[in-house]
Subunit: 338 residues, 2 copies
DNA sequence: CGAAATTAATCAAACGTTTGCGTTGTTTTT
DNA sequence: AAAAACAACGCAAACGTTTGATTAATTTCG
């Protein structure tokens, strides 16, 4: 009743050869004769032999595991990204373990420590909102655990990362709105502490100045990304001397709050809204954004995973080169709204 | 530069005692004296000793890993559930690995096999849509790997599971609609192969007959859950001799398709819609469902994980008792729509 | 005071696999 | 025909930790 998994020893015993020969036979080592090799393989197959991973990991001192730390799994962006990571890892026979920081710095520090103790071979990280120190990652260097950051990356030079250029995407978004005839464009930006806020702002300014228009700083409002904050920001626009006719929202949640509020006060048709995609079904709502910045979470996850797999399997000599991959984001125009 | 993790052997060498004493000391084994124990612990701490997990797993023949197989991580329900699973596992120092079947039977079979080979200590499964055979799970019995199904459970008696009682929830939904005055209620149900379809149908019938109303089978339409299928189902209702005034949609996606279609043909105000929750933001759309059946994914994940942890740590004697946990689902009435 | 019980530690095996090195025979080279 | 090369396999150690059995030293008790 109680099946024990087949082992190499068992196969060796049945075949009257040594375990080492079985091991070599299974790995097509040249020093094992063809006939023996086939006998080994056939018996292994018929006994449903599967290598005991724990034993291999232990003996090789590797875990064939990559850790993923991200802020919030239930966010569509991250669940998509981790899905990609898992797919890539599976191809190379790596296992993925993950943990959520819930956007908490202390939690993130703990998780990094835990991942290190779990002896992950490498780490993929999307940093939490309120992480501004990065010592906890540097410790991993001495243990030779490579780290690749994705999407939410730290403002450091000497790290590997994959991210989206929100700046160029924002330029595209503003250009699109300008081409539609808008001359006063508001932006509900995130907290100033976020790198992503800088990128949006820079993109905004770049597009405005490139088109030889006057940049009005009061058209960019920082916001804590809550519903309340969004409404406050919206009110600033409504009372603005140059009331904008289009608004770039920090993300789909903000866009959602905005649309809800605008509907309530019956001004929803006065604005074109552009947002940064993270809710798959936003296009289903009425008066949904006219365009969205697509950040390709699957692609980002894929690239980050592949870079990490690369780093883990290369000698640690080439420490000077850092992978800095930018995934181009695209402006997706919402059809039927144009 | 290149740090090697501290080992028990190293500690033993430095303290001039045997590795076994160190191991016992760290585990508060009574046969180690208090002074020695403290010396061991202090040195271990100062050297940042962390047990080599791979070695422990190997030697114990356990992996302290629970596997999760689910259809689609990007669905909000599942990402929430796995988030709960991870939280529970972490508490007991278990690691979670997961994989997606993408609702494909063959893939699911492969994943079960893979999880078995990875030597997971237990498995949590939400079965794929087109799984109707369950041999691949039974094989796990002989390897003493407990399985707990959650949400999408197989129609078997001798399995552990956690699920939502969609039947009673459906009763609540129908009762709610009846109380609102509806007398002809349509239901867009899923494929007949799904257990979840049976439950909805049973709940519908139960509520109708309990209220001494006549049950009209043509008011329940099976549907493949695609947009096209939803529209076809909707058309059946529109042409029905007793055109319903309320419709119960199989899930939020179906509700979404339905609302979109009804809006297009300008009949959206003719219907009250009730749905089963899986999209967190559905309440933001116009003409959103008047009520939703909440299935508490976090709670389900939590319970399933705890049952599994229980099973893994109990002797395999009590094989007769099966955990059959039903999480009561609630009808959430969409405020402001009532 | 000697036997038994208790305390505190050690020994050695085990878990399954890999791998450097050694040992056979057999074949090829000069 | 002796030396060199090669083919095919076995031996044994190693990875870090746990644990049953054992030993040695000390204490307790009748």
């Amino acid at each position: 009743m109680q099946s024990k998994p087949t082992t190499i020893k068992e196969i060796a015993r049945l075949l009257n050869i040594s375990p080492s020969s079985v091991s070599r036979g299974l790995h097509d080592h040249p020093s094992i004769g063809a006939v023996t090799r086939e006998k080994i393989k056939q018996l292994a197959k018929s006994l449903n032999y599967e290598p005991n991973n724990a034993a291999i990991l232990f003996q090789k001192g590797k875990t064939y595991t990559i850790g993923v730390i991200l802020p919030e799994l239930s966010e569509h962006f991250f669940s998509t990204a981790i899905s990609a990571i898992e797919d890539e890892a599976l191809k190379k026979n790596y296992t993925v373990i993950f943990a959520q920081s819930h956007d908490d710095y202390d939690q993130e520090v703990k998780l990094v420590e835990k991942m290190k103790n779990q002896r992950v071979d490498g780490l993929l990280v999307s940093i939490s909102k309120d992480t501004s120190k990065f010592d906890h990652f540097e410790k991993l260097n001495s243990f030779n655990i490579p780290v690749v950051f994705f999407d939410r990356i730290p403002p450091l030079k000497n790290v590997h990362y994959v991210a989206c250029s929100l700046e160029s995407a924002t330029v595209k978004a503003i250009n699109y709105l300008l081409k539609k005839g808008h001359r006063s464009i508001g932006m509900i930006n995130g907290p100033t502490t976020l790198f992503a806020s800088d990128e949006r702002k820079d993109g905004y300014m770049q597009a405005i100045t490139f088109n030889r228009l006057k940049f009005d700083p009061s058209l960019i409002v920082n916001c804590d990304l809550t519903e309340k904050g969004t409404i406050e920001a919206a009110n600033q626009f409504l009372n603005h001397k140059r009331k904008p006719t289009a608004i770039v929202a920090f993300n789909d949640y903000v866009a959602l709050f905005l649309i809800k509020y605008f509907k309530k006060i019956n001004v929803v048709n006065d604005f074109d809204i552009v947002s940064y995609a993270n809710l798959p079904i936003i296009s289903y709502i009425d008066h949904s954004p006219v365009a969205s910045v697509e950040q390709y979470p699957y692609l980002q996850g894929q690239k980050a995973a592949n870079i990490l797999l690369d780093l883990m399997n290369s000698p640690n000599s080439e420490n000077q080169a850092f992978y800095n991959t930018i995934v181009e984001s695209d402006l997706i125009v919402n059809e039927g709204k144009d």
